[in-house]
């Protein structure tokens, strides 16, 4: 029993399965290929940027500019395709590089100033978002190549092609933090920055690397959004912020750092996607989503806390 309790995602898995079963019982259409595809598409888009926030949470930082980075990359990606007619591979490379640059700037500024990432990314949020709006003058780029559009639409039965990007990313992140030395160092720094530095882990590398990784994931999510929406519009990323925190937190992440529950985050994304689906299928007032989402976050972190207390792993004093 204690072993199961230690696995932080088992409760969520039960929740997802039970919720899915209940929805399927209420509406048989729930299990059609098209419907599963819709849920998985939402999963693909959300899990990438949720992990982008998860990486930050792992080192005890946060990236408020996540959506703005995704937005800037999305419109730049659409722009170079439409205006400069860049080949697709180059455009993707350009988008990724831009994500790297945005993340690097966040990380470098955070490290060099020693200010909290909260305030730095609040400022860069404004800068990136403004740039995206300035470039587009708030009008979408429509000239997206057919190949990109197809990638966002095509599916094999219930499986969207976008899984080809999302799944490898999930696996890479899981391996990176679970098996690789650098990933371990990031978590160690997140758990206790001071101790990590004393044991020879360079803070500069950890902070800049994590922010850059977050920027890249935001960039990927931005370009996936372009593929899905079939155009590059500067409102991409506007609604990422709450969801990006909700999924890792529901999945068991602690904001003080040291831990990145990859499977938990995936399940957290699925829980939110299922709730949204249920509300549409059962024709519920959209504002219940807000209340439910809030209660869910509170419930999830509350449960986590309870488990920590039971296992005696809760820190003695953490008031703020």
């Amino acid at each position: 029993m204690k072993g199961l309790l230690r696995t932080d995602w088992i409760g969520l898995l039960v929740l997802v399965l039970a919720g899915g079963a209940a929805l399927a019982a209420a509406r048989p259409e729930f299990l059609t290929a098209y419907n599963i595809d819709v849920i998985l598409v939402s999963f693909c888009l959300t899990v990438v940027y949720a992990l982008g926030q998860g990486v930050m949470i792992a080192i005890g930082h946060m990236n408020l500019a996540l959506g703005a980075t995704g937005c800037l990359v999305a419109v730049a990606f659409g722009g170079v395709l439409e205006v400069w007619h860049l080949p697709l591979a180059l455009a993707i490379g350009f988008g990724l590089l831009l994500g790297v640059a945005c993340g690097f700037v966040n990380g470098w500024l955070t490290y060099r100033t020693g200010l909290t990432s909260f305030i730095i990314t609040l400022a860069t949020l404004s800068i990136f978002k403004g740039a995206a709006l300035g470039i587009t003058q708030a009008q979408p780029f429509y000239g997206i190549p057919a190949a990109v559009k197809a990638f966002g639409s095509d599916r094999w039965g219930p499986l969207p092609e976008m899984l080809l990007v999302a799944l490898p990313i999930v696996i890479v992140i899981a391996v990176f933090f679970g098996r690789m030395v650098v990933g371990r160092q990031l978590l160690a720094y997140g758990g206790n920055p001071h101790a990590a530095e004393l044991s020879g882990i360079p803070a500069s590398r950890v902070v800049i690397l994590a922010h850059t990784l977050s920027g890249v994931l935001a960039a990927v999510a931005g370009m996936l959004s372009v593929a899905r929406l079939q155009n590059a519009t500067p409102s991409i990323g506007d609604e990422w912020l709450i969801a990006s925190f909700a999924a890792p937190v529901i999945g068991g992440a602690v904001l003080t750092g040291g831990h990145l529950p990859v499977i938990g985050t995936c399940l957290g994304v699925l829980v939110v996607a299922l709730i949204n689906q249920a509300l549409v299928m059962l024709a519920v007032d959209p504002f219940y989503v807000q209340v439910l989402l809030g209660l869910l976050i509170l419930g999830a972190v509350g449960l986590n806390r309870l488990r920590e207390v039971r296992l005696g792993t809760a820190p003695a004093v953490r008031l703020s």
């Binding site: 419907n35 639409s153 155009n231």
Partner: protein, 342 residues
């Protein structure tokens, strides 16, 4: 509270006596609620009006975000920059009366454009699509192409948008008039802010209940785009759809037969005619005729329809002409109908 009443009185007087008879330099600011593709044609409408009527300026000024506080602050800022006439899309039907009142107390007139402010309002009048009428006509077109019976769904805009409620009522009315032959399965609102949300909700509904659905009416920009994309994705052309506005995606879907048609609105004409009215009022001392044949809607008793037109597959290539024609027709009688000039 003598003071408050004084201000109101002064504001009222200022609105009526907007300008002296002498021609005065007119600088119009066109302020939408935030960045949205719908307003893109305002810019051209303003520029053309500037050229045609000799305005000193008719500038399109977009708040960078959909934020009532920001829009209100911007309006004050533009007034300080010397703009002396405003076409404003109300960020909120009630909350935009505040800045309009401030303008009025400095003697600056404003027109609620593309959406209405709620009475009592300092706006000269409300000039926009009769969205209820447009939604009603669109639903009628949809029902016709569905052969008069079946089940439809309605995708519409944000609940805080002054127009959304009017649209929902109009669709319901068209459905009611079918005496049970048409069933409105579900309305999804609040999906005109980000395309991702629209895409997710619309696909979720089509996936879950698509088999029951025979027709889609959309009455907001982003839902139209998302629904058109979704129908192209499904590809079997069984579900009929009537959209709204002229996004490239929607027009292409009409041309290829995935969408039956779209209800054009007239943002170009709103800006063009609105700027012209300001030139007449501020520059030449005209007044709004209080006895003009205004229409009524749920928000105001001073509403002027900026026109609407159904666009099917045959008209797609020349849709801009359709919009310009609506504008020209309105222009012919506008001054005589709605203004009294010295």
């Amino acid at each position: 509270m003598m003071r408050a009443r004084d201000w109101l009185a002064a504001a009222f007087a200022a609105t009526l006596l907007a300008a002296p008879a002498l021609a005065k330099e007119v600088k119009v600011a066109l302020v939408p609620g935030g960045p949205h593709p719908y307003f893109a044609n305002w810019e051209q409408g303003g520029k053309d009006a500037m050229r045609d009527f000799g305005l000193a300026a008719a500038d399109y000024k977009v708040p960078a975000k959909w934020e009532l506080g920001l829009q209100n602050q911007l309006i004050e800022n533009f007034a300080a920059q010397g703009y002396n006439a405003f076409l404003i899309f109300p960020g909120d039907p009630v909350g935009t009366n505040g800045p309009m009142q401030d303008l009025a107390s400095s003697g600056i007139p404003s027109i609620a454009t593309a959406g209405c402010t709620k009475d009592p309002t300092p706006a000269l009048f409300c000039f926009g699509t009769d969205v209820g009428h447009s939604a009603y006509l669109g639903t009628k077109e949809l029902i016709k192409t569905m052969g008069g019976k079946g089940t439809i769904v309605h995708f519409t805009g944000n609940l805080v948008d002054p127009n959304t409620e009017l649209r929902m009522k109009a669709v319901q009315q068209a459905v009611d008039e079918s005496h049970g032959a048409i069933k409105l399965l579900q309305t999804i609102a609040d999906i005109d802010r980000t395309p991702q949300e629209a895409d997710e909700k619309i696909n979720a509904l089509l996936a879950a209940r698509g088999k029951e659905i025979d027709g889609i009416i959309t009455t907001a920009w982003l839902p139209s785009v998302s629904a058109a994309t979704a129908l192209r994705r499904i590809g079997d052309k069984r579900i009929k759809m009537v959209g709204i506005d002229h996004d490239q995606v929607v027009l292409a879907a009409i041309k290829d037969g995935f969408v039956h048609g779209t209800m054009l609105q007239n943002p170009y004409g709103q800006a063009y005619i609105g700027s012209y009215v300001m030139e007449e009022i501020v520059g030449h001392g005209c007044k709004v005729n209080p006895n003009a044949p205004f229409k009524k809607n749920a928000y105001t008793t001073r509403f002027i329809d900026s026109g609407t037109a159904f666009l099917g597959a045959d008209g797609v290539a020349h849709y801009q002409d359709a919009m310009k024609k609506v504008t020209q027709d309105l222009m012919k009688t506008f001054k005589a109908t709605y203004l009294t000039c010295p």
